[in-house]
């Protein structure tokens, strides 16, 4: 990888720099890279031999291979600079992030796809055993996983309600008000709080059945039995509300920035033409805000698809799996049953679903936005 890095540079007069590099320096660069590659390969081979007990020389863990990879990364950078001069220096900007992400994402994901095809329970002595698509068939027949997927659909739909509230708040903050900065800070505050702390603060104490203030208030409003987490529908709504509480500020800030970037003349023109505030909003503000809205909603949906913390700490998916998100379900699959193989298959299936869904969403959104403008 990364060996054909040619940069068509933006600036004149240094495209010949590569030709001016003395051959000795180039040779040094190649030698460095070759040596580092050898070290990396040697470390990997030695470790494989040691782990498969062909060989007795090796380390207890794979960590030296990690060091060898870091060393190889450094050598790769040095090789770029030594052999390609200024072009190499440019490549150096990108290399750390690229090497880091590739090591941290590509390798574990590929490894994950392999684990997904194995029967592997960490608590049993049998160890890892390849079992082909068994996990996949098991997944298709798993009612709890299907239930978690349905819940995710509901949770994602709740984003639309959050969007309406966030838009309302953004309009409020954009109106001519005093103490705007104060209100903005206050409205932003829930976003700072850790979901785990929030699930205790709100879910376990404010909404506590016997003497939580929210329960007391609900009793005053005529709900005799304010149990927020005991029947499936209310429990789902409670989770949605908690999650909305922390994440509404996120959309609100984006929408507010959009409102403030809107050109004043358009609104003036609408007013001069005699449009009411209601008409102005639907005919002018809302269509103009559509691109920002779409960005905000999509980003929010992406975050929503990762929803887990609140459910894990608050309901553990209960009652009876009614509030489970996919992430929290897989989390418990591992935590309670140590079922790494099956859990990974569920996660990989979820990844595929997400990638397809988000790709479709982006396509759909771009067409939608273009049609309006």
């Amino acid at each position: 990888m990364a060996d054909q890095t040619s940069t068509a540079n933006a600036w004149p007069a240094n495209s010949t720099a590569a030709d001016l590099i003395p051959p000795g320096r180039k040779r040094l660069g190649w030698a460095l890279l070759a040596a580092a590659t050898l070290v990396l390969l040697a470390a990997i081979v030695m470790q494989i031999l040691y782990k498969t007990e062909v060989d007795t020389v090796g380390f207890d863990t794979w960590r030296p291979v990690v060091y060898a990879y870091v060393l190889w990364g450094v050598a790769l950078g040095a090789w770029q600079v030594l052999t390609r001069g200024e072009d190499g220096q440019r490549a150096l900007f990108l290399l750390p992030a690229l090497l880091f992400t590739i090591a941290m994402v590509i390798f574990p994901t590929l490894f994950g796809f392999y684990i997904a095809l194995t029967d592997w329970n960490l608590s049993s002595f049998a160890g890892r055993r390849f079992n082909g698509l068994d996990n996949f068939w098991q997944m298709l027949a798993d009612p709890y996983y299907r239930n978690a997927l349905v819940n995710m659909v509901l949770y994602v739909l709740a984003v639309l309600v959050e969007y309406v509230i966030a838009f309302g708040l953004a309009l409020l903050l954009n109106a001519q008000i005093k103490a705007r900065k104060f209100f903005r800070v206050v409205f932003l505050l829930p976003l700072m709080l850790s979901p785990v702390a929030v699930s205790w603060m709100v879910g376990k104490s404010l909404m506590e059945y016997r003497f939580g203030p929210a329960a007391t208030l609900a009793r005053h409003l005529g709900w005799d039995n304010p149990a927020f987490f005991s029947d499936p529908i209310t429990a789902r709504i409670s989770i949605m509300m908690l999650d909305a509480w922390t994440f509404i500020p996120f959309m609100m800030i984006m929408l507010l920035a959009g409102l403030q970037a809107m050109s004043r003349e358009v609104l003036e023109a609408a007013r001069v033409d005699g449009a009411t505030a209601w008409q102005t909003f639907w005919q002018v503000t809302f269509p103009l805000m559509l691109p920002v809205s779409v960005t905000a909603v999509i980003l929010r949906i992406i975050f929503k698809l990762k929803l887990a913390d609140i459910i894990i700490t608050l309901t553990s998916g209960g009652p009876g799996g009614a509030t489970d998100s996919v992430s929290s379900f897989i989390y418990r699959e591992y935590r309670d049953r140590s079922n790494v193989g099956y859990g990974t298959m569920l996660a990989m299936a979820y990844l595929v679903i997400i990638v397809v869904f988000v790709t479709w969403l982006l396509k759909f959104a771009s067409r939608f936005v273009r049609n309006v403008n």
Binding site: F183, V198, I312, Y331
Partner: protein
């Protein structure tokens, strides 16, 4: 992106009565939502000073309804009378707190360094890695945002065991860096795009190398963006629970994991839970209030053109 004041609503409203109704509605809504945002925080802070009776009777206002007591903070070993004594709970808490500080600052710092470099490269130069062009590389980085933590969690659990990074702060730092890197690159790309290329061209003419131009000319200008990205990354890392819960057990546990484990075991010990929750949210709440400008800058980067 600075946030300016606007004043178009007033001019639309003609009669005094309508104006008044409009004002009442706007401020009513503002106060209502402020209450929604602040009450849980208020409740948590006051509960940490309540005894069991005050909790069960639903007392709300300190000094009027109930007499505040350091109860919750004493159980954490952080009240004025227990701060000088040895306390295992406090040691435990401080250890978790330091873990949180180290992992979130470390990960945000690392992400800022490699993310800024990559963002700078992507905005200024044309790359061509095999068949990948700049747009593909950018997409590769940003697409990591979609990746849900569950997908990586179990493979990482196994891999970290093999490389002896399980239950270490370094292991968490690396994962958190990965988690916030797309956001950092997103923000910094926006920042570097807003800096005119002519500045660097002049620096190059004056004899600086490209890295010299980056450090001496571009970085100082992009510093506010870096602060914004850093704060946003801090918030995400500090509050992260999923990876921490799966990958740490004794040494590297962070504050959210501690909070979560306490809710399970202590049940109804409200005052100490409230104190713990307050301590867990306080650092970020303070940072958020003090550096709100940067946070907003980070969140709105690139969304409004």
């Amino acid at each position: 992106m600075s946030v300016q004041t606007t004043d178009y609503t007033v001019s639309e409203i003609r009669s005094p009565a309508a104006f008044l109704a409009n004002r009442v509605f706007i401020y009513g809504a503002l106060v209502f939502w402020s209450f929604v945002c602040l009450f849980p925080i208020y409740w948590t802070i006051t509960t940490s000073f309540k005894s069991a009776v005050d909790v069960t009777q639903g007392h709300l206002i300190p000094f009027v309804d109930f007499t505040p007591d350091w109860k919750g903070w004493r159980s954490l070993g952080l009240s004025p009378d227990s701060i000088s004594q040895t306390s295992t709970v406090r040691d435990e808490f401080l250890k978790r707190f330091m873990n949180s500080v180290i992992t979130s600052v470390g990960a945000s710092g690392l992400a800022i360094i490699i993310g800024s470099l990559a963002a700078y490269g992507l905005t200024r130069y044309r790359y061509h890695f095999a068949w990948f062009k700049n747009e593909d590389i950018s997409f590769f980085f940003l697409s990591q945002l979609i990746l849900p933590p569950v997908v990586l969690a179990l493979p990482f659990l196994v891999l970290y065991r093999e490389v002896a990074l399980l239950d270490t702060r370094i292991g968490l730092v690396l994962l958190y860096t990965l988690m916030v890197l797309p956001i950092v690159i997103w923000i910094m790309r926006d920042q570097f795009n807003s800096i005119p290329v002519e500045l660097e061209e002049a620096a190059l003419v004056d004899g600086l190398s490209i890295w010299g131009a980056f450090f001496r000319i571009v970085m100082p200008i992009a510093l506010p963006g870096m602060v914004a990205a850093f704060i946003l990354a801090m918030v995400l890392c500090w509050n992260e629970y999923f990876f921490a819960a799966l990958l740490t057990s004794t040494d590297a546990k962070t504050i959210p994991v501690m909070v979560a484990s306490q809710t399970g075991s202590q049940g109804i010990n409200w005052w100490s839970m409230a104190a713990l929750a307050t301590a867990a949210i306080a650092p970020l709440a303070i940072i958020g209030i003090a550096l709100e400008r940067y946070l907003i800058m980070g969140m709105t980067a690139g969304s409004v053109k």
